[in-house]
Symmetry: C2
Subunit: 363 residues, 2 copies
Amino acid sequence: MNFSSYIPTKVIAGRGCVRECAEALKPLGTRALIVTGQSSKRNGALADISAALTQNAQRFAVFDRVTPNPTLSCVREGLAMLKETGADFVIGLGGGSPMDAAKAIAILAVEPRTDEEIFAGGYGNAALPMAHIPTTAGTGSEVTPYAILTNDFARTKTSISSPALFPKIAFLDGAYCDNLPPHITKNTAMDAFSHAAESMLKNSSSPASELVARESLRILYPLLKSLEAPAKETRDALLWASCLAGMAIAHTGTTFVHGMGYFLTYDFGVDHGRANGLLLGETLRIFAENGVPAVQAICAACGASIEEIAKTLSVLCGEREKILRKTCEEYAARAMKTKNIRACKYQPTEADILRIFTKSLCG
Amino acid sequence: MNFSSYIPTKVIAGRGCVRECAEALKPLGTRALIVTGQSSKRNGALADISAALTQNAQRFAVFDRVTPNPTLSCVREGLAMLKETGADFVIGLGGGSPMDAAKAIAILAVEPRTDEEIFAGGYGNAALPMAHIPTTAGTGSEVTPYAILTNDFARTKTSISSPALFPKIAFLDGAYCDNLPPHITKNTAMDAFSHAAESMLKNSSSPASELVARESLRILYPLLKSLEAPAKETRDALLWASCLAGMAIAHTGTTFVHGMGYFLTYDFGVDHGRANGLLLGETLRIFAENGVPAVQAICAACGASIEEIAKTLSVLCGEREKILRKTCEEYAARAMKTKNIRACKYQPTEADILRIFTKSLCG
């Protein structure tokens, strides 16, 4: 079997690690652009990275206007600030949105593109160096070569990809997650869980990706049942599991579950992790019905049956959004044309996709 | 808990991968020095890498004079050839010895040192880029930041260490191992097994290092019993397990088992992996007697008790070398002064070290 394993990011984990390991930031450059949203001001992360950079005599500016599901105009705004300030490296600080925006800024700074070209692929191997600091435990973006942006041309979210998008450093400090409200904790945990599970369902799944995916599922699944007010140790474990799930999709990419979820996020503002959680249960059933052994491996790693997993996700999702069957039909047709519909261990038909949408969202 | 995870090497695995993924070598440079021994001419590895470089229009020279346990004079000779040929990147091709020599050449080319300074530590973060191709399944050097060289000043082998010693690429093709004689298969498998087990015994052992260490043990242990004429799938699994064990020690380093074994290699020419195999059983007993829980984790990963593991290693070692008690006493005193005596989950006394030597080698 042929496979590869490549995670060049240095992961530094532990409470207090940003200040303690400030030294690690020194080789990145002389002047940083910190790309973030508003919550990093409240959870202590912005204060920590500011102190670390100051300690290193590295100057920095803060672009704090990243909103969920970052748009190209948000990325352009950050890019303008990067140029104004002369920053030569980028800090991605926050949940998936600031990290994804930071990645887009870091690569577009080196490889300028028009809005029309941004999703055209074919990126080279250069970007400004980055350090990423997740403040939710879900995206795993801190160890992936992807940035996912709102794509108004296609009315969905679309990823851009390059090995240059691997951050040089990822700092994992669970303290930044301590005060997350339950709905964010749950939605992001479902995102991480979905990454690990989806990775196992890809053709490109390998001994390298499965090692991290299984470990992520093993850690995550039991924690999914107690996310109302997690203890510190649980926060740390969620963050590490989310990072492992990120490593898994760094190797394999995600499946059509993500592609389908992006429609829900774009059109109805459904949180990204929640969208995955809504769709994953029925997806696992379809893979199982079609005899894909990876489903058993997922169950073994979780120590649970498909129905138990589906129920756990369902409880986390709570009351489901309802969408019209007609919308589901339109989505199913569009989903068949997305790039992540392919390369799974079972190739879904349009009827399968429609079934997942309707069973998940038509009550 | 604070820890870090960092394996920047891109691992490309699979039969035929060197020729198939020749493209990956392109960014390394324009002219290679291939550092190897004699066996790569017989196992197909030299032909494959030569074809891959030729396909890329990358020129190369072959330094094929690396012998087991490379000396500084061997490294100097390779370094002279590198300079003569103007090579700007290095291929390490063979077992641990050619890979370690290649690493020393790659870093000394950038950071010249006298023989006296080579083991003084404090290396910077620069070396010529490298691709490594292991042709035995033991050392894991293809994914570590270490090079182990014969140190005549200290009458042992000593490691040099720098993040710059991580190869850019590691190609794992089990075919190069297909015709290894049983004693090399066994000795190198014991080396890999010892890396994974020793890594679990270090204070620096972490969720990241334990993940790869446990997986390595899980794969390796059942295979240790059928190493006379392994099937191709077994060869591939051994090579991947050896790589995982390399990742484990890349995070944690080795223990005093390695430090003790180097004496046996230096003075009696005991093969490196075999030296570890000879000493590991008694070492595990001492850790267990002193209540180190990691021993149970090692046993769980292997699916075997300490005594079963010790017996398996003993069978692989066959008839043991005998050394004088007086020599053991001298070694125990010297071992207490080596750097890897420290930072284990149990700090051995000189009496412990003496016990390991005498129980293992005084019959």
